[in-house]
C-alpha cells in the first residue's frame, strides 16, 4: 500500500522475525488437522453426517459464525483504511497493514468456508456466472461483492509482498493506481456488510421483530464499522502482548474515541428504529429472545463504561476489554438475528455439533497461524525503533 503524507509505511513496517514453530503455531496446526478430518467426512457422507443442521435451521454456525460474523470481524482493514484514506487521518497509517492482513484472512477464509457449507458446492461457480445470476437475490449481491472485495484486498496488500521480494518497479506502478483500489476497498464492504443484514428481510416474520427491520442493512453496516475498530483494539493488544512489543497507545486511545462515536450513532439508530416500529415491547416479555436482546444491548453499552473517559482510555486493559465487548455485541446482533430470533415453528431446534464447532475453530486457527507467519516474515507490523520515536 502506498505511503501516506504523515508516515511512510515502507520505513515503518518491518518483519517481526523469530521462529515459526512454537506452541501457538503447533496448537493451530493440530486444530487445523482436526478440521480437515471432519471436512473429509462431511464431503464423503454429506452435511447431516457432521452437523446438526435441519430444515428448521438450515443455516448453522458455518454460515452465521464463519461467514457473517467472520467477515464482520474482518472489517478492521476497511474501518482503518477509511479513517486513513477517506477521513485523511494519516497518523493511523501504521495500523493499516496489520488490520488489512487480518481482514484479508478473515474474508478469504469466509469465502473458502462457504464451500464447506454449500450442499452442491461443485456448482459454486454459478454464483459468478452471468446466465445464472439473480439480481433480485440479496445472497447474489453479497457473494459477488465479497468475491470482488477479496481480490481488491489482495491487491491492496500486495505491496507488502513486493517490498519483501524487491519488486520495486511493479510496486511503483501499482502505487500510482492504488487510490482507486482503496476507494473500491471502502465501497465494497459498505455494500456487502449492509447486505449481510438484508439477508434477513426476505425471511419475513420468521425473524423476531427485535431483529427484523427494513433498516437492518444500516444497522449491520454501522455495527461492522464499529466492530472494525473494536477488532483493531483487540488485535493490537494481543499482538503487542504475544510479540512483547510496546502497545501503540497513542493511536489506540483516539481510535477508541472514534469507536465510541460510531457506537453512539449505532445505538441511536437502533433505539429509534425499535421505538418507531413499536418492537421494543418484545424486549420486555419474558423470553429467550428478550434475554439475548439485553445481552447484546449490554455488550453494545459496556464500552461506554469501560473507556468512556479520557483517563480510562489510557488503560490498555480497558481498551482490550472494550474491543472484546464490541466484538461480542456484534456476535450477538448477528447470532440473535439469524439463530436465536429465527423461529420456523414448533419442533425445530439447533445447537452446533462438536464437529461443527471444531471446523469453525479450525478456520480461526488458520487465521491465527497465517497472521503469525506473515507478520514474522513480511513487513506488516510497525518497526519497533520507529515506535520509540513517538
Amino acid at each position: 500500500m502506498s505511503a501516506h503524507p504523515h508516515a511512510s509505511s515502507a520505513n515503518l513496517a518491518a518483519p517481526v522475525g523469530g521462529k515459526l514453530f512454537n506452541t501457538a503455531t503447533f496448537i493451530c496446526g493440530i486444530l487445523i488437522a482436526m478440521m480437515v478430518a471432519i471436512l473429509i467426512v462431511r464431503f464423503i457422507f454429506g452435511l447431516g453426517a457432521v452437523t446438526n443442521l435441519n430444515d428448521g435451521y438450515p443455516w448453522g454456525i458455518w454460515v452465521v459464525v464463519d461467514v457473517i460474523i467472520g467477515s464482520a470481524f474482518a472489517c478492521g482493514g476497511f474501518s482503518v483504511a477509511m479513517l486513513v484514506y477517506i477521513f485523511n487521518k494519516g497518523e493511523y497509517h501504521p495500523m493499516v497493514r496489520p488490520a488489512l492482513l487480518a481482514s484479508l484472512f478473515g474474508y478469504t477464509l469466509a469465502g473458502v468456508g462457504v464451500i464447506f457449507d454449500l450442499g452442491r458446492y461443485w456448482n459454486f461457480w454459478h454464483i459468478l456466472w452471468p446466465t445464472y445470476a439473480n439480481p433480485n437475490s440479496v445472497m447474489f449481491e453479497v457473494a459477488l461483492c465479497i468475491s470482488c472485495y477479496i481480490i481488491v484486498m489482495w491487491i491492496e496488500f500486495s505491496p507488502v509482498f513486493m517490498e519483501k521480494w524487491g519488486m520495486k518497479v511493479q510496486k511503483k506502478k501499482l502505487e500510482k493506481v492504488l487510490f482507486f483500489f482503496i476507494a473500491l476497498g471502502t465501497l465494497l464492504p459498505m455494500m456487502h456488510q449492509s447486505s449481510l443484514g438484508t439477508l434477513l428481510v426476505v425471511m419475513g416474520s420468521q425473524v423476531n421483530p427485535l431483529w427484523q427491520t427494513p433498516i437492518v442493512p444500516l444497522l449491520y453496516l454501522l455495527s461492522a464499522i464499529t466492530i472494525g475498530y473494536g477488532v483493531v483494539l483487540f488485535e493490537s493488544c494481543v499482538a503487542s502482548s504475544a510479540y512483547r512489543r510496546t502497545i501503540e497507545m497513542h493511536l489506540l486511545q483516539p481510535m477508541a474515541k472514534i469507536m465510541l462515536g460510531m457506537l453512539a450513532v449505532f445505538i441511536v439508530v437502533r433505539t429509534v428504529d425499535l421505538l418507531v416500529r413499536g418492537a421494543l415491547g418484545h424486549a420486555f416479555t419474558p423470553s429467550l429472545e428478550a434475554f439475548y436482546f439485553w445481552l447484546e444491548t449490554g455488550f453494545f453499552l459496556l464500552p461506554f463504561l469501560l473507556v468512556g473517559s479520557a483517563e480510562a482510555r489510557r488503560n490498555p486493559a480497558r481498551l482490550f476489554l472494550a474491543g472484546c465487548s464490541i466484538m461480542l455485541a456484534g456476535v450477538f446482533l448477528r447470532v440473535n438475528g439469524f439463530l436465536i430470533g429465527y423461529d420456523t415453528g414448533p419442533g425445530w431446534n439447533y445447537f452446533p455439533s462438536i464437529a461443527e464447532m471444531l471446523v469453525t475453530i479450525g478456520m480461526f486457527a488458520i487465521e491465527v497461524l497465517g497472521y503469525i507467519i506473515i507478520t514474522r516474515r513480511f513487513p506488516v507490523l510497525p518497526r519497533e525503533e520507529a515506535q520509540s520515536a513517538h
Binding site: S2, A3, H4, P5, H6, A10, F43, I44, F45, G46, L47, N54, D55, G56, P58, M82, V84, Y85, I86, F87, N88, K89, G90, D117, L118, G119, R120, Y121, N123, H126, Y132, A133, P135, N136, S137, V138, M139, F140, K172, F179, F180, A183, L184, T186, L187, M190, M191, S194, T198, V201, V202, M203, G204, S205, Q206, P214, P217, L221, L222, Y342
Partner: protein
C-alpha cells in the same frame, strides 16, 4: 497551522463523502419500490378443503410415487412410510390438529382436523427472490415454482426464506438436493395433473386453475353448513373450458359427488396471504392452530427487493459513491517518492 487547516478541511471532506456514501447506500427510495407480485391469470394450483379430508394419506403415497421418493421410517417397525414432516424426500404430508377428547371432526374444542402441507406456489415466492443462482424459478404461465438441481449451489437460502417451511434439503446425501412440490409439472406433458389431486377419494385436494379454484372456494363458503352439495373431485374444469382443452388432461371429467357442507371459517387461505398463493385452503379450524402462518398481504420478497433495487438498481448509487470515494482517496494517498501536495511534508 497550514498543515492543521488542510488536514482538517480534507477530514471534513472525508466526513462529507463518507456520510453521503452511507446515506446513499442505505436510504431506500420510493422510485425503486417493488410491489408484491400477483398470480398469473392462467396459474395452476390446488384447493385443499380440510372439512372434506379424511386423513387417508393416499395423496402422500401418490406424491412419493410420482416423485420417486423413498419411504421415511419413524415407527419401530420399518413397514410403513411414516414421515413426521415434509423433508427432502417427502414433498406432501397431511398433518393433524388435535384438541382434548378429539371427539368431533373439524372442531377446535375437543376435536381434530387435517391440514395439507406442501408448496403453496406463492404469487411472489420468497424462495425465488432468495435464490442467488436462479435455481428456483416461477413459471410465467403456469406459475409453478420449479427447482433446477443442476443450477442449485445448495446454499439453502430458500429453505431459510420460505414462510411455509417448504423447500427442504437432503442432509443425508453428499450430493443432496432441495426437495419440494412442483405441482407434478414433470407429468403435465403426459396429461397427468398433480398426483395428490388425482388420487384424493373425497375431492379434499382439487387441481385446477387458481382463479377457478378460488371461485369454487367462495361457492363453498356461501353454502349453508350441514346442507348437501355437489363437490368436484380430481380436476376442476376451467370456466368456459373447450373440449380440446379438457382433452389435454387424462381422467374422468366429472367425478363429483354429494357431500355435506363443512362449517367453514369465512377465509380462503392463500387468497391474499403474501400477495396470494396458487394453492388455496379451506378449514373449519383456525388456520394458525392448524399450522399455517399468519401472513400479511405484502410479500417479504417485495420488501427485500425494494431495499436491494433502491441501493443497487442500475449500479447508479455504487458508481456515484465510488466516484466520490476515489476522488477523496486520490487526494489523500501519496506515493512514497512523490512530494506531498498542499503544503504537507
Amino acid at each position: 497551522m497550514a498543515l492543521e487547516k488542510t488536514s482538517r478541511r480534507s477530514f471534513l471532506k472525508g466526513v462529507l463523502a463518507a456520510s453521503g456514501a452511507v446515506a446513499a447506500t442505505v436510504a431506500p427510495q420510493q422510485a425503486c419500490a417493488r410491489d408484491t407480485l400477483q398470480r398469473p391469470p392462467e396459474g395452476l394450483g390446488l384447493l385443499y378443503d380440510a372439512t372434506l379430508c379424511v386423513g387417508c394419506q393416499a395423496c402422500v403415497a401418490a406424491c412419493k410415487q410420482a416423485n420417486d421418493n423413498p419411504a421415511e421410517f419413524n415407527a419401530m417397525d420399518k413397514l410403513w412410510d411414516t414421515p413426521l414432516d415434509t423433508s427432502g424426500h417427502t414433498f406432501n404430508l397431511i398433518k393433524m390438529y388435535r384438541n382434548g377428547t378429539m371427539e368431533q371432526k373439524d372442531s377446535e374444542l375437543n376435536g381434530f382436523s387435517f391440514m395439507k402441507t406442501s408448496c403453496m406456489h406463492c404469487a411472489d415466492p420468497s424462495c425465488v427472490s432468495a435464490c442467488p443462482v436462479s435455481a428456483m424459478l416461477k413459471d410465467p404461465v403456469t406459475g409453478v415454482v420449479g427447482y433446477d438441481p443442476d443450477a442449485c449451489i445448495g446454499c439453502r437460502y430458500c429453505v431459510a426464506a420460505c414462510p411455509f417451511g417448504i423447500p427442504k434439503y437432503q442432509y443425508d446425501s453428499p450430493t443432496g438436493k432441495i426437495g419440494k412440490c412442483e405441482l407434478c409439472r414433470h407429468r403435465h406433458d403426459e396429461g397427468h395433473y398433480s398426483a395428490c389431486a388425482e388420487v384424493c377419494p373425497t375431492g379434499a385436494t382439487l387441481f385446477g386453475r387458481t382463479e377457478d379454484l378460488l371461485a369454487e372456494a367462495k361457492r363453498r363458503l356461501a353454502l349453508k353448513p350441514g346442507d348437501w352439495a355437489r363437490m368436484p373431485r380430481g380436476r376442476l374444469p376451467a370456466q368456459n373450458e373447450t373440449p380440446e382443452q379438457a382433452a389435454k388432461w387424462k381422467g374422468l371429467l366429472d367425478q363429483s359427488y354429494e357431500a355435506q357442507v363443512g362449517n367453514y371459517l369465512q377465509h380462503v387461505y392463500g387468497e391474499k396471504e403474501y400477495g396470494g398463493t396458487q394453492v388455496l385452503k379451506l378449514s373449519a379450524v383456525n388456520f394458525q392452530k392448524a399450522g399455517m402462518p399468519d401472513l400479511p398481504p405484502k410479500s417479504s420478497a417485495a420488501t427485500s427487493e425494494t431495499i436491494q433495487h433502491s441501493l443497487y438498481g442500475g449500479l447508479i448509487m455504487p458508481i456515484a459513491v465510488l466516484a466520490g470515494l476515489t476522488w477523496v482517496a486520490k487526494r489523500n494517498v501519496v506515493a512514497d517518492d512523490e512530494p506531498a501536495k498542499g503544503g504537507k511534508s
